[in-house]
Amino acid sequence: MEKGEDKAHPYPNLTVELAGLKLQNPVMPASGTFGFGEEYSRYVDLNALGALVTKSITLEPRLGNLPPRVVETPAGLLNSIGLQNPGLEVFIREKMPFLRRFKPPVIVNIAGSTVEEYAELARRLEKVPGVAALEVNISCPNVKEGGMAFGSDPQQAARVIKAVRQATSLPVIAKLTPNVTDIVAVAQAVEEAGADAVSLINTLTGMAVDWEKRRPVLGNIVGGLSGPAIKPVALYAVWRVARAVRVPVIGMGGIMSARDALEFLLVGARAVAVGTANLVSPRSMLEIIHGLKEYLREHNIDDINEIIGGLEVPFPL
């Protein structure tokens, strides 16, 4: 039998382990850019993905921010959605039944405006069938309370993660913001507080101005920058964090192609999340998974785990 024909041990191996989950490949959507899966299910076989990650869920429904909510910048996207979501109850009732029909683990992203809200979300999601892990969004730049305020300070971040950790036995992934002086300090604090993995980066805070109308473009004035423009910042953050914590890192920020994904794996990400690219082309993730497989084949690499952290650096920095 030829290599690659064994169904039980597909060649090359793309599976990675992450916070107790086994992912068939390391590619998943970034929260907020894939809705609740349904919107993309016409274009993407959800069963082909490494995991399914939901838009951030809050306890109560949220309307979101004033429009316009998105504006393009050179090689980037600035958004101020403001966590529009139907709230926990509707999510459990109307979105989970669809999501749990698929094979990949469902990672539910949660956001609160108090520590107690995060804990409450974790408690209530614990019992919901099909929820495989929680991603704790302490890095949203588009809401007034909570969000990034928690993620900007190691102690605050640790408080949220500790509370979530105590409220659930599900794997806990802390999602970090790059808008800090020292993201490593935050990563270490959440690791200490019990996070099973960290995901980074969320968006960079930014704004766009309409020079003709002399006013901000976004209804919310300020938004979060994503896309290829931020990839160098994201790679640097992942590289630093991956060497400073023992828990696995989910890398994201500007991943548009398999090459971009490889770069994140090389700097130490165990898995990658694709955000803005989904908005540009719904089939991006499939192309990335395919491209990774091709790369391994062409280079005769049996296992994607050999790539992870494989960056050759000439000297310790």
Binding site: T33, E72, N79, G219, A229
Partner: protein, 263 residues
Amino acid sequence: MSLWIGEVVANFLVAPDIYRMRLRVDIEEPGPGQFVHLRCGLRYDPLLRRPLSIHDFDMDKGEIELLYRVVGKGTAWLAARVPGDKVSGLGPLGRGFILPSGKTLALVAGGIGFAPLFFLARKALALGNRVIFYLGVRSREHLLRQKDLAEFGVQLEIATEDGSAGFPGLVTDLLAAHLRNLRFDGIFACGPKNMLAAVAGLAATYSIPAQVSLEEHMACGLGACRGCAVPVYREDGNVTYENVCSEGPVFPAHRVVWKPSWR
């Protein structure tokens, strides 16, 4: 509602800054008011797709037509395409106009809002409606496809802002004047927000159901990102946000919140 690569069949200037493009694509039949979401370049600047209404559809040839004004980098890229070039698209997307049959309809277009209403007019006539087409443009050189519309049997009423053809002034003033005598079963509008708000006001005054096609900056085009949300009234009177891309772009005029808190 699919992802495809279209081939440019024709792409030519039809009025100052306005181009008409024919694309050969293999898509399901679109309805008037639906749009396609096009990549305008191969790199990351521009990054996002651009939404363009379907201006016409030829089932036999498997071609859609687009009519677009060059306003920035994405449309400039489109304008530079020549026959044989490829363009990546999504669509048809969104909810289009809902047409009755056998009625008398007013179609109201402002500027490039003409794009979807041309297709709508053709479909409306096919359903046995009488169509009066109010077309407002800046100046006579922006008038397009009058002959085609006349051949279809559309009654065309023109308004130009500079008075160079037809009624001198805003198309909504022309419509207002006609509404004093004429009776419509429905109004269908596409154009700048101010114009749509005025149409909605007239429709409310005369108790005529109106459908308007809205614009908002878009990202995914699929209803996933909530980037194109606009405030609309729920049945209970409270305001909520709906996506222009998936719940619109066409909304009943009375549902639209015309003046959000600060703009």
